[in-house]
Amino acid sequence: MRSKLCIWGLAVAVALGGAAGCARHPSQEELNRLEEARKAAALAEKELEAKKKEKASLEAKVSKKREELRKLEAKRDAVKAKLGGK
C-alpha cells in the first residue's frame, strides 16, 4: 500500500514537472536574431532622430533666409523709391 502511494506520487510529480517546464522556447540563434533586430531598430530610430533634428535646423535656416530676403527686397524698394527723384 505504501509503495503504491509512492509510485503514484512519483507519476504526479513527473506529470506536473513536464506540464510546467516543457513549453517551446526560442533557440539561442533565434534569441541572437531578436537582439540584432532590436539593435537595428534602435539604430534606425537614432538615425531618424538625427534626421528630424537636421530637418528642424534646415527649416529654421530657411525661415531666417526668407526673412532676410524679405527685408532686403523691402530695402531695395525703399532705395529705388528714394532714388526715384535723383
Binding site: A13, V14, G17, H25, E30, K82
Partner: protein
C-alpha cells in the same frame, strides 16, 4: 522511508526547474511578438528616414535658391547706390563721426554754442554733402542722417543771437584801454570803444570811476563783423565766412555808410553789417 526520499527529490526536481526557467526565458510566442515589434520599429523608422531625406533635400535646395536670391538683391542694391559693401561701411563711419561731434555739442550751454557756430556750420555742410550721396538712400543711413539733422537743428535753435555779456567792476587806476587789454575781457586794448559804446554811464571815455560795473559785450550777430586791429574792407570781404572775395568790399562800405566816412578808414571795435545776397 527510502521511497519517501525518492518521492521528495523527484517532486523538487519536477517543480523547481520549470518555475526557474519561466522566470528567465520567454516563450516562443513572446519571442515572435518581440521580433515582429523590433522589425516593425526598424521598418517604420527607415520609412520615416526616407521621407525626411526627401524633405531635407528639398529644404537644402530651397536654402540654396534663397542664398542666390539674397546675393542678387544685395548686388542690385549696391548697383543702385553705386558702391559696394566697403563703400557703405566707409560712409557709415563718416556718419558716425558726425554723430559723435553732434553728441558732444548737445551738452553745451547756449553761450558755449555761440562760439561753436563755425563748427556747427561745418557739421551742417558735411551732413548736406553726405545727404547728397546715393548711399544716403539706404534706409538705415537715411534714418541716421534724419536723426542727426534733427539733433543739429535742435542745437541750432539753442544758439543765441548774441552771447550773454560779461561784467567788469572798475578798480582804482583802471582805464578803458587797460580793461580791454585784460585777457578775461578782450585781450585786445583796441577793443576799448566796445566797452565805451555799451555803457551809457561813460560820458567821457577818459573818465571812469572805481566801483563802476561795466558791461562787456561779447560776439556779434550772424550778419555782422567785428573789426579788429589790422583789418581793412577788402581784407574783410575776402574772408571765407564773409564773401570770400576781396573785390566785394564796396558792398560792406555801402551797407555801413552811416559809420564809415572814408572806406580807407575803419577802426577796431566797429561792428559792420555784412549784407547777404
Amino acid at each position: 522511508m527510502r521511497w519517501g526520499y525518492i518521492w521528495a527529490t523527484v517532486l523538487l526536481l519536477g517543480l523547481s526547474s520549470p518555475l526557474q526557467a519561466a522566470q528567465r526565458k520567454m516563450t516562443y510566442e513572446e519571442y515572435r511578438a518581440e521580433l515582429e515589434r523590433a522589425l516593425k520599429r526598424e521598418s517604420e523608422a527607415k520609412a520615416a528616414i526616407a521621407e525626411l531625406e526627401k524633405e531635407i533635400k528639398a529644404l537644402k535646395e530651397e536654402l540654396r535658391r534663397l542664398e542666390e536670391r539674397i546675393a542678387a538683391v544685395k548686388e542690385e542694391i549696391y548697383s543702385l547706390i553705386g558702391t559696394d559693401e566697403q563703400g557703405v561701411r566707409a560712409f557709415q563711419a563718416q556718419v558716425e563721426e558726425i554723430g559723435k561731434e553732434v553728441d558732444a555739442l548737445k551738452g553745451l550751454s547756449p553761450d558755449d554754442l555761440f562760439w561753436k557756430k563755425k563748427e556747427l556750420k561745418e557739421i551742417k555742410k558735411r551732413l548736406e554733402e553726405l545727404r547728397g550721396s546715393r548711399i544716403a538712400a539706404l534706409p538705415e543711413i537715411d534714418e541716421r542722417l534724419t536723426a542727426l539733422e534733427g539733433a543739429l537743428a535742435q542745437i541750432w535753435a539753442k544758439v543765441p543771437e548774441l552771447p550773454s555779456p560779461g561784467h567788469y567792476t572798475v578798480l582804482k587806476g583802471d582805464c578803458l584801454w587797460n580793461i580791454a587789454k585784460k585777457k578775461e575781457v578782450y585781450g585786445d586794448p583796441y577793443m576799448w570803444p566796445r566797452i565805451y559804446l555799451a555803457n551809457d554811464q561813460i560820458t567821457n571815455p577818459d573818465l571812469i570811476y572805481p566801483g563802476w560795473e561795466l558791461t562787456i559785450p561779447r560776439g556779434v550777430k550772424e550778419n555782422q563783423h567785428l573789426v579788429v586791429f589790422g583789418e581793412w574792407l577788402s581784407k574783410i570781404a575776402g574772408y571765407e565766412e564773409v564773401y570770400g572775395d576781396p573785390s566785394k568790399w564796396p558792398k560792406i562800405y555801402e551797407a555801413n555808410r552811416d559809420q564809415i566816412l572814408d572806406p580807407n578808414l575803419i577802426y577796431p571795435a566797429q561792428v559792420l553789417e555784412i549784407p547777404r545776397d
